[in-house]
């Protein structure tokens, strides 16, 4: 492999075309996915737990906290979301800590499709913050394909920079891999910007908690990357098991191996359940020791989170002032 190209760059489709034989038929795809090395659950979890014991102090902690803030997809995905709520979230994303303008802004504001336009407007131009939209009938995804595509196209048309789609877990679990593959491809097509301009980046959500086994998560990672995912994402945050250190580590290994094999770099987004700075730093340590510098940026790693931001801000204040902060000293919206 001559060089590495980003999954969302112009050269990626050409690289993927090189693996066309793997995705030529349902049988070929199955053979390929089932030929991937197995995952020993206990060993994987032990490695993730081991990395979790790293002690990140002082300068390293300051770096990690700012990096983590810059990687957040600040999220609100509630039935009760309103324009006001989304605007407030956008304001928070732009200036997370009003008392310290040196605080980095978040990576994206993540909302339902009908809130994309609101977020787009609230962020304005030049904020450097993306608008991410869940789509494809998030979180269950249990609608017909045309509806999913319309959902996606609508969000893109409203100005979404990033689309977080959900896969059809039912199809995956019943072994209809090609169906899942084709659906991701179709959604990727729907991410094209009407009237030109760069396409929305596609994050593919597996819902690891429903895939149930680590072998499935590894297979699903490869399937999604072969289908053109720009990011692979652990979960919707709407089921019992969301991102865990172990299932995220496994996906980090998958993007690492995919880049080695295909030359295409794909991002990773754990989502759901990451609430504390301590947790976030553990994930960054995993990225650091599994993937290294190349993934240590918001272009390649994101946290899907809402309450995490305030904890990071409190830790950040503690580092700069030397005293422990409290929830009254960070903004709540």
């Amino acid at each position: 492999m001559s060089s590495v190209v980003p999954a969302y760059g112009p050269d990626a489709p050409g690289r993927l075309a090189g693996l066309a034989d793997v995705t030529a038929s349902d049988a070929a795809l199955r053979r390929f996915l089932h030929g991937l090395p197995g995952v020993d659950a206990v060993g994987l979890e032990a490695r993730a737990a081991g990395l979790g014991t790293r002690s990140i102090k002082t300068t390293a902690k300051a770096y990690a906290i700012d990096l983590a803030i810059s990687m957040i997809d600040l999220t609100t995905l509630e039935g009760s979301d309103t324009h006001g709520k989304v605007r407030a979230l956008c304001a928070k994303g732009r200036r997370p800590d009003p008392t310290d303008p040196g605080t980095p802004h978040v990576a994206a504001i993540c909302v339902y499709p009908d809130m994309v336009a609101v977020a787009r407007e609230a962020l304005g131009d030049g904020s450097g913050i993306s608008v991410a939209s869940v789509a494809t009938a998030f979180p269950a995804g249990r609608v017909a394909l045309p509806v999913k595509l319309a959902d996606t196209a609508d969000a893109v048309a409203a100005g979404a920079d990033e689309i977080d789609m959900v896969i059809d877990r039912g199809a995956f679990l019943s072994g209809r891999y090609m169906e899942v593959f084709e659906e991701i491809r179709a959604v990727k097509q729907a991410c094209a910007r009407p009237g030109g301009g760069s396409a929305a980046h596609l994050k593919v959500i597996f819902e690891n908690g429903e895939l149930s086994t680590y072998d499935n998560i590894r297979r699903c990672s490869w399937l999604a990357m072969l289908a053109g995912a720009d990011f692979i994402k652990t979960s919707t945050g709407k089921v019992a098991v969301n991102a865990t250190p172990a299932n995220t580590l496994l996906m980090l290994e998958a993007v690492r191996d995919f880049r080695d094999a295909v030359g295409v770099q794909v991002g990773v987004k754990p989502a759901g359940g990451i609430r504390t700075s301590k947790d976030a730093i553990k994930y960054l340590v995993m990225v650091n020791e599994t993937l290294g510098d190349d993934w240590l940026s918001p272009d390649w790693f994101r946290f899907g989170a809402s309450s995490l931001l305030n904890d990071l801000l409190m830790q950040r204040q503690k580092l700069s002032t030397g005293r422990y902060s409290g929830p009254d000293y960070v903004t709540v919206d």
């Binding site: 990140i56 650091n288 290294g292």
Partner: protein
Amino acid sequence: MANEKFAYAPAPESRAVVDLAPSYGLFIDGEFAEAADGTVFKTVSPSSEEVLAEVARAGEADVDRAVKAARKAFQSWGALPGAERGKYLFRIARILQERSRELAVLESLDNGKPIRETRDVDLPLVAAHFFYYAGWADKLSYAGYGPDPRPLGVAGQVIPWNFPLLMLAWKIAPALAAGNTVVLKPAETTPLSALFFADVCRQAGLPRGVVNILTGYGDAGAALVAHPDVDKVAFTGSTGVGRAIARSVAGTRKKVTLELGGKAANIVFDDAPIDQAVEGIVNGIFFNQGHVCCAGSRLLVQESVQEEVLDALKRRMSTLRVGDPLDKNTDIGAINSAEQLARITSLAEAGEAEGAERWAPACELPSSGYWFAPTLFTGVTQAHRIAREEIFGPVLSVLTFRTPAEAVEKANNTPYGLSAGIWTEKGSRILSMANKLRAGVVWANTFNKFDPTSPFGGYKESGYGREGGRHGLEGYLAGAADPTSEHASEKESATNEGV
């Protein structure tokens, strides 16, 4: 990989939890005392060469005094109801848990191993071992060694420097649970944690003379093993010394347990869970700087995945952090002594001289102390010294195989037989390999796992007897059907008359 963005700041564990005295005596009959001839030696921190303390050096007279104290204490300890002995051991287990941070830091200081390991592996296992055997003390008649198993008497125990406190626990816990008293000699490069353990015994109110600690060199160990009033000898260490001990006890009625060297094969098949196998290989050889008798020092990798596994292994080795043992992020600490470093260095040089290809990740080693970078050799054959001799350091020899039969043949082609590893996702292959490997511990899809309930010990020249689990009691009990026991129980009843 060169990680430049996210550089971990130093995260040192505080030394303040350990209160080191300038000098320590021998622990005999419940009291610390100088050696009879007043000799002392210094113990240094292998990561800095700083002198930590001066320690009394036991000689023959001290051995004799300690054995006498243990013999005297045996009269009442051996006669104590098992439930009471058990309660002492439970106390010790709990105090060890309470003092585990202090002991972990001490162990890292004196041994050079990373705090991450002493904190997360050594100390939890030490306490667990005492807790486990505490429960056996009043259940010995259910252990399968006869309806009325008796203790042997005085146990002379000699332990190595690689897991000073853990090896102490493996020796002392079953001995005391079974009703024996002990004289234990820690290694000369790591005497401190055993002396702190003496203080734990004091806090637990253990009767005097039940545990005696003799710091010193090989001569003290030899004198202890040879002492005529020792009924049981337990040794962990090199096969060479193990042979000498086996010779020294020949013709006596001493019961012997030997846990000696190894040259374990860690066998990776092409259908292995590769990422976990790489972790297992790394843990197998770089855990505790490779100062592990059951280390997976020979990697046998199936030729079809050799390249993939080696690439992944090298990538992983590049992330290993070598340095200050007290830094919480250190993966590989210091080599225990200048002597051991010289041995590792010379064997690694022999590997190169014999034509194997040497590789180590770029890593900066501290300027003082004893250090050796994690190293692997490829192109190794069974004929190379680095494939046959125990290096006892962070050096992995990589060999290849084509078929399961070849893997078994190569794995077993060694006088050692302590441990082995198997990596494959195929269940029937695991069981078949496990049956054929001549090793006392077989780790399948894992490596270097230890537990107080799990018997540990070798085949062939890796020694005999088992430590851990129900099996670990056998070496400290005189069973009814065992001819060596008749003598011991006679002696025991004779001593009981004196009570």
